[in-house]
């Protein structure tokens, strides 16, 4: 099915409550654009919507929206606190630490926070009780308004706290708890931080551009039942042979759904897709109507965004 007519005609109403994660097998498949625009669409339908940026290393969703930041919350974890007066320099903690965070040096134990996961093992193995635990700074959770009924949540991990990446994703999701509609933008891949983004969601949109037949089955997305995964095959076709004329990709993108959704990369449409209908708008509506599990009859024309 090639893209025909105008599907700005969307009469489908968003469900009352839904938590949906947008995830992808690699970057560059417009997952950020899709997550942002779905959230805008939910909000335009009158639902209180939380858009959760689950990339705590470089949160970039906010670059696509005008955000009025409201709150910053500092989050902390634990780290060992070594009392030099009681430390016997025996090296038990440094032997135990699986992450090379504690080094035995002539002047005492040197602590490097970068890989410390705060397992608490060093405190338990210290024979002289020299190690206690204290708070350390891990990063910031932010919350801001990105329009009527649309709230953006993001997390920024401190550079020396990389092992806390997945935890940060869990916390930023927690801060959006209670919103009836939540759209979570996961980091690409299936690693720990991605899995945390789709933990306990109603639905995962999995964007994948590998040729069909070679694609990892939705059933094998770890940590979620396959019935909750909608796989979106992305394929941006290039009509002309090389050299490729500028703009070719987004203009000529065709899509059918659900077999082979062609995703334009939405460089110019993001956040303005309701007012400036184009191929990207079609895609957002197609995905939206799939989420709502209904057909897309009429409605939502140009400029309905308020």
């Amino acid at each position: 099915m090639s893209q025909t007519g105008s599907s700005q005609s969307s009469g489908t109403a968003a469900p009352k409550r839904l938590v949906v994660a947008v995830a992808s097998h690699r970057g560059g498949l417009a997952a950020t654009a899709l997550a942002t625009d779905l959230a805008i669409l939910f909000a335009a339908q009158g639902r209180e919507t939380a858009l959760v940026d689950a990339d705590a290393i470089v949160p970039a969703v906010s670059a696509r929206l005008d955000v009025a930041w409201a709150e910053d919350t500092q989050v902390g974890g634990m780290q060992p606190d070594i009392d030099p007066t009681r430390c016997q320099r025996c090296g038990a903690c440094s032997d135990f630490c699986a992450f090379d965070s504690l080094d035995l040096e002539p002047e005492g134990i040197r602590y490097t926070p970068d890989r410390c996961v705060a397992c608490g093992g060093c405190r338990k193995v210290c024979p002289s009780g020299a190690i206690s635990e204290r708070q350390r700074f891990l990063g910031v959770l932010r919350k801001g308004s990105a329009g009527p009924r649309l709230t953006l949540f993001e997390a920024k991990l401190a550079p020396d706290a990389l092992p806390w990446n997945a935890a940060m994703v869990a916390w930023v999701r927690q801060s959006a708890r209670g919103f009836p509609m939540q759209v979570v933008k996961a980091v690409p891949g299936m690693g720990r931080a991605s899995r945390e983004a789709w933990h306990n969601v109603d639905l995962v949109l999995w964007l994948d551009d590998r040729p069909s037949g070679k694609t990892t089955d939705s059933a094998s997305l770890p940590g979620i039942e396959s019935s909750r995964v909608i796989r979106i095959r992305c394929r941006t076709q290039v009509a002309a042979p090389l050299p490729v004329p500028p703009g070719n990709v987004s203009d000529d993108a065709e899509f059918s759904f659900p077999e082979s959704l062609e995703l334009a990369t939405a460089l110019t449409h993001t956040g303005r897709f309701l007012a400036q209908p184009g191929p990207w708008t079609e895609i957002v509506y197609a995905v939206f109507s799939r989420i709502c599990s209904g057909h897309v009859p009429a409605v939502m024309g140009e400029g309905t965004r308020t």
């Binding site: 097998h25 690699r26 970057g27 560059g28 498949l29 950020t32 990339d55 290393i57 470089v58 949160p59 970039a60 969703v61 906010s62 670059a63 696509r64 135990f96 699986a98 992450f99 996961v117 705060a118 397992c119 608490g120 093992g121 338990k124 193995v125 550079p159 990389l162 092992p163 990446n165 980091v187 690409p188 891949g189 299936m190 690693g191 720990r192 899995r195 551009d209 590998r210 040729p211 070679k214 990892t216 094998s220 770890p222 940590g223 394929r235 941006t236 076709q237 290039v238 090389l242 050299p243 490729v244 500028p246 703009g247 070719n248 990709v249 987004s250 990369t265 460089l267 110019t268 993001t270």
Partner: protein, 305 residues
């Protein structure tokens, strides 16, 4: 095209994920003069099959890649559950089968996707029933192009696993060993700056190139590139990919890079289009020659000069 001073290790990383670093790396590996170059591809999903097919790669070896140590509960477990109390990562689990009595639950086990490998449970298990073991987190795939003697190495991860510093180090070591001939380069690609293993790769490689496409928020990824390379003493390069999509933004990204201490080193237009059409395979030669000044080889020979 001649890449003059060769025999280097070059890391080509995405600043923003999906900016075409892997395509850039493939083309360099394919088109670099001389022979015996190695490509190390660290994308969690390995080399795409399309790539393998279009370059007529011969599959040489598959080796299991081990992650860091993780806890495993052995049969000596008495079922006290103290490990579950000790674990701060919720990795020790058992499932209720029926009823509430302990006998109605499965034995304690450790979920490898959540075990962080700290070893606290193993150290404090009263019956010594927990051991720390390395298990496979994926496969190291080694392929060769017979006509040039160049090698492509990739790590294909099991679903749900994260790439680790030690598996990256293993792949890079393998890549260095498999270079043949004096001037052979090592190209490392497939990661983005948001990967926890990216800082390690930046320390390892002699030449650092970041690709970035002109999308909203790209500057933040460049900032991250600056942050993770600040200790390396190298001046990282920036190549703006898909520059034809938004020439104005592409230009402003170059200005931004320069101000941030990175060195803009060229444009690579139509990257997403090439990638989508899998043109890096059969058409790679044409792609390189048609690209004119924006050819990846031109860009890198400028960098290496």
């Amino acid at each position: 095209m001649n890449i003059s001073s060769s025999g280097r290790s070059v890391a080509i990383l995405n600043a923003r994920p999906g900016s075409g670093a892997d395509l850039f790396g493939f083309l360099l590996w394919h088109g670099a003069a001389g022979s015996g170059h190695t490509l190390v591809h660290l994308d969690p999903f390995g080399l795409s099959d399309g790539f393998t097919q279009t370059f007529s790669l011969v599959h040489e070896e598959r080796q299991p890649v081990e992650g860091s140590e993780q806890a495993v509960i052995t049969d000596a477990c008495l079922g006290c559950g103290s490990c579950a109390l000790l674990c701060r990562f919720g990795a020790v689990r058992r499932t209720r089968i029926s009823g509430n009595a302990a006998s109605h639950r499965t034995p304690w086990h450790i979920d490898p996707l959540n075990c962080i490998g700290c070893g606290v449970c193993a150290r404090f298990c009263p019956s010594g029933a927990i051991v720390m073991r390395r298990s496979a987190i994926g496969t190291l795939q080694i392929s060769r192009r017979p006509e040039t003697g160049s090698t492509a190495i990739s790590i294909l991860l099991e679903p749900g696993r994260d790439i680790t510093d030690c598996s990256v180090a293993r792949a890079i070591r393998e890549g260095k060993n498999r270079r043949t001939g004096d001037g052979a380069n090592l190209f490392i690609t497939g990661l983005s700056v948001t990967s926890p293993v990216a800082p390690g790769v930046c320390t390892e490689a002699e030449i650092l190139i970041f690709t970035v496409s002109p999308v909203p928020g790209a500057e933040r990824f460049l900032d991250k590139a600056v942050e993770i390379t600040s200790g390396t003493g190298r001046r990282p390069r920036v190549v703006v990919t898909d520059s034809d999509r938004n020439p104005e933004r592409a230009h402003s990204l170059e200005v931004y890079s320069r101000a941030a201490g990175l060195e803009p080193s060229g444009h690579l237009p139509s990257c997403a289009a090439w990638h989508a059409a899998e043109l890096y395979g059969a058409n790679a030669d044409r792609l390189i020659s048609d690209a004119g000044p924006a050819s990846p080889l031109n860009i890198i020979s400028d960098i290496l000069r």
